[in-house]
C-alpha cells in the first residue's frame, strides 16, 4: 500500500469533502489518502472535532499540527519530554496534551502558532493517560505517581484525585453521559489489567473490571501489558479494553494483540477479539469504534477491523511503518495514524 505525496494530495483530493460526497464505510476498499512526514518518531495523534487539523506528538518533545486541507505544518512547543497523549475539547477549540514530563498543557489550537494557554505540572514522573470529558469541562489524567487526577479544563485547578497503588495507571476515559451537563463517570485502566470506575461527582469507586488476563509479570519485577487503551461502543453498551496477551517472551516482544469487552451495565466479560488472520507480535495500542459498530484497531503496521461479535479480524490494511496511535476524522471515513517513522498517514476506509 503506498501513500500519496501530501503536496499533491491537497490540490487533487482534499479529504474534507462534504459528507454527501464521501464513500460508504467499507474497510475492504480502504486506500491511502495522505502522508505527512516529520523527522521524529510519533507516539500519538488526534483529529480535531471540526475536522480541520490533525495533531501528532512524539519523542522530539513537540506537537505537530497539520492543516488537513492544505497540509501546512505548525510546531507546538511546550513539553520537556516525549509527548504521549492528546485530546480535544468537544468544540475543537482546545487541544490538551500530556507528556513524559508529567505535564498537561492546554492549547488554543486555531491560533496561527499555538502557544501553551495553561501548563499544569500534574504528575511526578510520566503522565500516561489523558481524557477530556464529553461536556469539555473536565480533564482526567494519570501518571507514574500512581494517581488519577481530575482537573478543571478551564483553569487547570485540581478537583479530585484517586490512588491506584500499588499499580501504575495506564489510561483514562470518561464514560458516556446522557446528560450533556454531566462530565461522565471516570474510568482508569492500570498496568496489571484493572479498570477502575469512579462516579462523578461523588468520586466513589463504584466497581472494578477484571482484565488481568491482559497482564504479565516479568521476572517478578516488571508488569507487562495491562489496559493500554479503552473505548465505548457507539451505543454505549460495551466497554472495550485493548492491549496484549499470550506473552511468551516479553523482552523480545513476543505477544499477541487483543481486545476484551465488558457489558457496561452488568460488568460481565464478553468476547475477546484477536488477529488470527495474520500472526503478529503486537500490542493493540488503540481500539476505537466506527459509528457502524466496527472495531478499528492498530497493531504493528496493520490497521485491523472487527465486526461486532466477531472473534477474528475481517480485514487488515498494511501501512509502511509501525503505528502507535490513530483517530477517526469526524467524517467517519478517514483514519489518521501516527507512525514510528515520523509520518502521519490517513487512510480512506471505503470506496465510492
Amino acid at each position: 500500500m503506498s501513500f500519496p505525496n501530501p503536496a499533491n494530495l491537497a490540490s487533487t483530493d482534499p479529504p474534507t469533502k462534504q459528507p454527501d460526497e464521501l464513500p460508504r464505510f467499507d474497510p475492504v476498499g480502504a486506500k491511502p489518502l495522505a502522508d505527512w512526514e516529520h523527522a521524529s518518531k510519533l507516539l500519538c495523534c488526534r483529529v480535531d472535532p471540526t475536522g480541520t487539523y490533525v495533531v501528532a506528538g512524539g519523542i522530539d518533545q513537540a506537537i505537530q499540527r497539520w492543516h488537513i486541507a492544505t497540509g501546512s505544518k505548525t510546531t507546538l512547543l511546550g513539553h520537556e519530554n516525549w509527548v504521549r497523549t492528546l485530546g480535544f475539547s468537544p468544540d475543537g477549540q482546545r487541544l490538551y496534551s500530556g507528556g513524559y514530563d508529567g505535564r498537561w498543557i492546554a492549547w488554543d489550537i486555531a491560533s496561527e502558532v499555538p502557544k501553551p494557554l495553561k501548563v499544569v505540572d500534574a504528575h511526578r514522573g510520566w503522565l500516561r493517560g489523558l481524557a477530556v470529558s464529553p461536556d469539555g469541562q473536565r480533564i482526567v489524567t494519570c501518571g507514574n505517581d500512581r494517581l488519577v487526577k481530575l482537573w478543571s479544563a478551564d483553569d487547570g485547578r485540581q478537583i479530585q484525585q484517586w490512588s491506584t497503588e500499588p499499580n501504575i495507571p495506564y489510561c483514562t476515559l470518561f464514560a458516556p453521559s446522557s446528560d450533556p451537563t454531566h462530565s461522565g463517570d471516570i474510568l482508569c485502566g492500570d498496568v496489571v489489567g484493572n479498570v477502575y470506575h469512579w462516579t462523578h461527582p461523588r468520586a466513589e469507586l463504584l466497581r472494578k473490571f477484571d482484565a488481568t488476563e491482559l497482564f504479565f509479570h516479568i521476572g517478578d519485577i516488571a508488569p507487562f501489558g495491562g489496559i493500554i487503551n479503552m473505548a465505548f461502543s457507539p451505543d454505549g453498551k460495551q466497554l472495550t479494553v485493548v492491549g496484549l496477551h499470550q506473552c511468551t517472551n516479553a523482552p523480545a516482544g513476543n505477544r499477541r494483540a487483543v481486545a476484551m469487552s465488558f457489558d457496561w451495565q452488568t460488568g460481565q466479560k464478553g468476547l475477546k477479539q484477536e488477529c488470527l488472520k495474520k500472526e503478529l507480535d503486537a500490542t493493540l495500542w488503540r481500539g476505537l469504534y466506527h459509528s457502524s459498530g466496527t472495531l478499528i484497531g492498530i497493531l504493528e503496521k496493520e490497521i485491523a477491523f472487527w465486526n461486532s461479535g466477531s472473534h477474528d479480524v475481517f480485514h487488515l490494511v498494511t501501512t509502511p511503518s509501525e503505528i502507535f496511535d490513530c483517530d477517526l476524522h469526524p467524517n467517519q471515513i478517514d483514519l489518521y495514524t501516527a507512525h514510528f517513522d515520523g509520518h502521519v498517514r490517513s487512510t480512506r476506509l471505503g470506496s465510492l
Binding site: S40, A222, F224
Partner: protein, 441 residues
C-alpha cells in the same frame, strides 16, 4: 542511609589487629596459596603487587562482589544518560553525591553513593552475542570458548586464597534451587570454580542431615569415604579425584556454616532496608559473605535484554536494582567493609542509541558503561566519555581486557603475574594489556 540497630565495633585498629593475627597464623603454618592441584605462583613474579608483599595483602581479607546485570543493561538508563532527543530516551539525568557527575534519574539511591563509586563510560568491545560477550567480560580475554580461560571469580578466588578458609572462595548466590559447581575455572581447576549456593530460611538448601541420620553416623560415613579415597589415591594420581575429595570436605565445612546463609537471622530493620525482593535478599546475603571475607561473590540480576519496551522495563528493573544496591554500598561503608571490598556492576554489553520500532534498544558493544565501588579505586572518578548521542567513545577507549587487569589490581592482585599450574605458566590476565592506571587508588 543508616542501620538503626547497628552499633559497630569498627575501629581500624581492631580490624587490623585481628587480620594480622589470622594472616600471620596461616603464614606461619606455610599453607598460604597452596591448592590441591599443586597451584603456585611463579617465582620472581609476585602475585601480589601490594608493597607489603603477598602475605600482607592476604591478611587484608579482600573481597570482590560482582552484581551481574545479565542481558545487557542500557547505559542510557543507568550510568551514561544523554539528553539527545532521538537517542536519549524519556528519562532525565540527576545529580549525584559527586559534583559534576550525573546519572539516570532511575537510580536516585545509587546516585547518593557516588562518592564511593567510579564510572567507566568508554567501554568498547566488538561482540554483540550474549554468550560470547559473557565469556570475554568474565575472562578478560578475547575468546570464543567458555572454558579456555578462568573467569574473574576463579582468578580472584585463587589470587585471594587463604588456607583453611571454611567457605568456597567463589560463590554465586541464589535464592532457592539446589546450587552446584560451575565449569568456569579453566586451567585453575574446579577448586576455584563458582559454587552456586541456594539459600533459604534456615540456611543452605539441602544442607541438613536426612531425617534419622545422626551426626555420629554421618561422621562414620565420611571417615569411610576418606579411607576408601586415600586407598585409591595412593594408586592413582588425579587432580580430578583430589578436586572431588576437596569438594566433599568443602561441602562439610559449608554445612557447618549454614546459618550464614540464613538472612532471616538478620534484624527485621536490615531486611526491610535491603528490601524483601529477590535481589534485596541476595544483596543482604552478599554483605554477610563479605563479612566472612569470602574472596569472590556474584549476585545475578537477570533479564535485562530489552529489545522491546526498553523504557517501561528499565523503569521497573532499575528501581529493583537501585535501592538494594545503594543500601549495600552504604552498609559496607558504615561497617568499614567497603575499604576492603571491590564492587563491580557488570554486564555483557550496552544497548543501542537507536530506539527500535518496539521502543526497545538492541545489543550495543561499541560504547557502554559499568560502575565500580569500594576498594582500590579512585572514588568519584569517571573514566572516558561518549559523544552527545552515545554512539561513539570519544575519550579513553577501553575494553574487557583493561577492565580485567583493573579489577585484579584494585584488590592487590598483580595482573601482570603468572599462575603456574602443573609446571605450566599462564599469564593471569592478557599480557598485551594493562589496567586503567588512572582509576586505581
Amino acid at each position: 542511609m543508616s542501620n538503626p540497630q547497628y552499633k559497630p565495633c569498627g575501629t581500624v585498629d581492631h580490624r587490623i589487629a585481628r587480620r594480622q593475627f589470622m594472616g600471620e597464623f596461616f603464614t606461619g603454618l606455610g599453607v598460604t596459596g597452596l591448592g590441591v592441584t599443586g597451584l603456585g605462583v611463579t617465582a620472581g613474579t609476585s602475585l601480589f603487587s601490594h608493597p607489603l608483599g603477598a602475605s600482607q595483602v592476604a591478611k587484608a581479607g579482600k573481597s570482590v562482589v560482582v552484581v551481574y546485570l545479565n542481558g545487557g543493561v542500557s547505559q542510557f538508563e543507568s550510568w551514561d544518560p544523554k539528553s539527545d532527543l532521538q537517542t536519549g530516551g524519556p528519562f532525565k539525568s540527576i545529580a549525584t553525591s559527586v559534583p559534576g557527575i550525573h546519572v539516570s534519574e532511575l537510580i536516585p539511591h545509587t546516585a547518593k553513593q557516588m562518592h564511593h563509586m567510579a564510572l567507566i563510560r568508554s567501554i568498547s568491545t566488538d561482540l554483540d552475542d550474549h554468550a560470547l560477550s559473557n565469556n570475554i567480560v568474565r575472562s578478560g580475554r578475547t575468546t570464543r570458548s567458555a572454558t579456555e580461560y578462568p573467569e574473574l571469580g576463579a582468578v580472584v578466588a585463587k589470587g585471594l586464597e587463604r588456607a583453611d578458609f571454611p567457605l568456597p572462595g567463589h560463590i554465586t548466590t541464589m535464592l532457592g534451587g539446589i546450587g552446584g559447581r560451575s565449569n568456569n575455572a579453566a586451567y585453575l581447576g574446579p577448586r576455584y570454580a563458582s559454587v552456586a549456593v541456594g539459600a533459604e530460611k534456615g540456611g543452605i538448601v539441602n544442607s541438613q542431615l536426612p531425617d534419622g541420620m545422626s551426626v555420629q553416623v554421618d561422621s562414620r560415613r565420611h571417615d569411610w569415604r576418606r579411607f576408601v579415597n586415600s586407598q585409591h589415591r595412593s594408586k592413582v594420581q588425579s587432580a580430578e579425584i583430589d578436586a572431588y575429595a576437596q569438594s566433599y570436605e568443602q561441602a562439610l565445612r559449608l554445612m557447618e556454616k549454614r546459618d550464614l546463609f540464613d538472612i532471616s537471622r538478620e534484624p527485621e530493620a536490615y531486611q526491610q532496608a535491603y528490601g524483601k525482593t529477590e535481589f534485596g535478599k541476595q544483596m543482604l546475603l552478599a554483605r554477610r559473605l563479605v563479612e566472612q571475607e569470602v574472596p569472590f561473590i556474584e549476585i545475578q540480576h537477570g533479564g535485562w535484554d530489552f529489545h522491546h519496551n526498553n523504557f517501561e522495563f528499565h523503569l521497573h528493573y532499575v528501581a529493583d536494582f537501585d535501592r538494594p544496591f545503594a543500601h549495600f554500598i552504604a552498609d559496607l561503608s558504615q561497617r568499614g567493609l567497603l575499604e576492603r571490598t571491590l564492587v563491580i556492576v557488570m554486564t555483557e554489553f550496552g544497548r543501542t542509541p537507536t530506539i527500535n520500532a518496539g521502543y526497545g534498544r538492541d545489543h550495543y558493544p561499541k560504547a557502554w558503561s559499568i560502575a565500580l565501588a569500594g576498594s582500590g579505586i579512585q572514588h568519584g572518578a569517571v573514566i572516558g566519555s561518549t559523544d552527545a548521542k552515545g554512539v561513539e567513545v570519544t575519550e579513553r577507549k577501553v575494553d574487557h581486557r583493561h577492565l580485567f587487569h583493573t579489577y585484579l589490581r584494585a584488590v592487590g592482585i598483580d595482573s601482570s603475574g603468572e599462575f603456574e599450574v602443573a609446571g605450566r605458566k599462564f599469564p593471569i590476565a592478557d599480557p598485551a594489556f594493562g589496567p586503567i592506571e588512572e582509576l586505581l587508588a
